[in-house]
């Protein structure tokens, strides 16, 4: 499996997951719901589309707001999470829609924002 953190992890939205099956990705989204077992949660991207994130160990803390997940895309187009970071929003809310627009730009111009 290897440590995905040593590899390029393209930034993707829900709509891109199908093109990255088996690959490391980075997904930013807002927490919509957390499964009672703590081993699964759902994030919405800047277009409101949902992605399921799975964990090998249950969450050991409350998560909320905007999360950035690093992981591998499963063949069910969910993300097997290797690590996550919570975006701070204590001073300003994070504009997820703007981030989604930025994603469109970096996907359109990979020569100016290369992954790997």
């Amino acid at each position: 499996m290897g440590d995905v953190h040593e590899l390029p992890r393209p930034r993707v939205a829900t709509g891109h997951l199908a093109q990255h099956i088996g690959q490391p990705v980075c997904f930013v989204g807002r927490v919509e719901k957390i499964h009672p077992t703590g081993k699964l949660f759902v994030l919405s991207d800047g277009e409101g589309k949902h992605t399921t994130v799975e964990l090998s160990e249950p969450l050991d803390e409350e998560i909320s707001g905007v999360i950035e997940v690093v992981g591998r895309v499963t063949n069910r187009a969910t993300i097997m999470c290797m690590s996550y970071v919570q975006f701070r929003e204590d001073k300003s809310p994070f504009d997820l829609e703007l981030y989604n627009e930025a994603l469109k730009i970096i996907h359109e111009f990979p020569e100016y924002f290369p992954f790997g």
Binding site: H5, P8, R88, F109, Y112, F113, P114, F115
Partner: protein, 232 residues
């Protein structure tokens, strides 16, 4: 001639790793770069007596080594170690040692507003696009340019939105064609459309309507034919 960026260039770690090195200088797209900014999350922080070594991850490659020299004269406190999991913006110089690239940071700022992270992404695309444009536009003189994205303000294109002498570019073009038409019944809308490839019929009609209401042109045999009121 050396093209040198005199500004701080926002970059991805992947771009820094791909930068070509010649002696003491680094080049991205043939432009010499030195001071750069990256935005990423701290994955690892190690404090040593004279420096703090961070590993900063922006997802475009493996985390990059970022070294921050500690002022040993300072009575503690000044260089507080930024904890892993924190998003930071790093400003520093690119270095290479034994073929391994790293940054020597002169500033490491934890992001308080995560929208700066999104802005940095956009600034990178913009800056590198300008770098490429400057390279391609032939002139090999040393250039200073703003990586904030102003670059070459090369006109507004044929958009026709900035009025000159009271007429927009579109209106001027239509008027000039009508003025120069030698035919007695004037210029038809169809003929205007044939000559003005980039203009839609509705844009042409709008221009004609404006010019007519302002008295520059008048209709002749029907509403489709116009002559200029300026006697040629």
């Amino acid at each position: 001639q050396r093209i040198r960026s005199q500004n701080i260039v926002p970059c991805t770690v992947s771009q820094l790793l791909a930068a070509e090195q010649a002696d003491e200088t680094f080049r991205i797209r043939d432009v010499e770069i030195s001071q750069v900014t990256i935005v990423g999350v701290i994955r690892h922080a190690e404090k040593a007596p004279t420096n703090i070594l961070y590993k900063v991850d922006d997802m475009t490659a493996a985390p990059m080594d970022v070294r921050q020299w500690v002022d040993t004269d300072e009575a503690g406190g000044e260089n507080v170690v930024v904890p892993p999991g924190t998003y930071v913006k790093v400003a520093g110089h690119l270095r290479s040692f034994q073929n391994k690239k790293s940054l020597v940071a002169f500033k490491i700022m934890p992001l308080e507003n995560m929208n700066e992270f999104t802005t940095h992404i956009l600034e990178i695309v913009n800056a590198h696009m300008i770098l490429r444009k400057n390279l391609v536009s032939a002139s090999r003189m040393p250039q200073s340019f703003s990586s904030a994205g102003i670059g070459d303000v090369g006109g507004y294109g044929g958009g026709g939105s900035l009025p000159v002498n009271g007429l927009t570019a579109h209106q001027s073009q239509v008027l000039n064609l009508i003025k120069n038409c030698p035919v007695p019944e004037g210029m038809s809308l169809q003929e205007l459309k044939l000559q003005l490839h980039n203009m839609s019929m509705s844009t042409i009609k709008q221009a004609v309507e404006f010019l007519s209401s302002e008295g520059h042109i008048y209709s002749t045999v029907d509403d489709d034919h116009y002559k200029s009121t300026d006697a040629e």
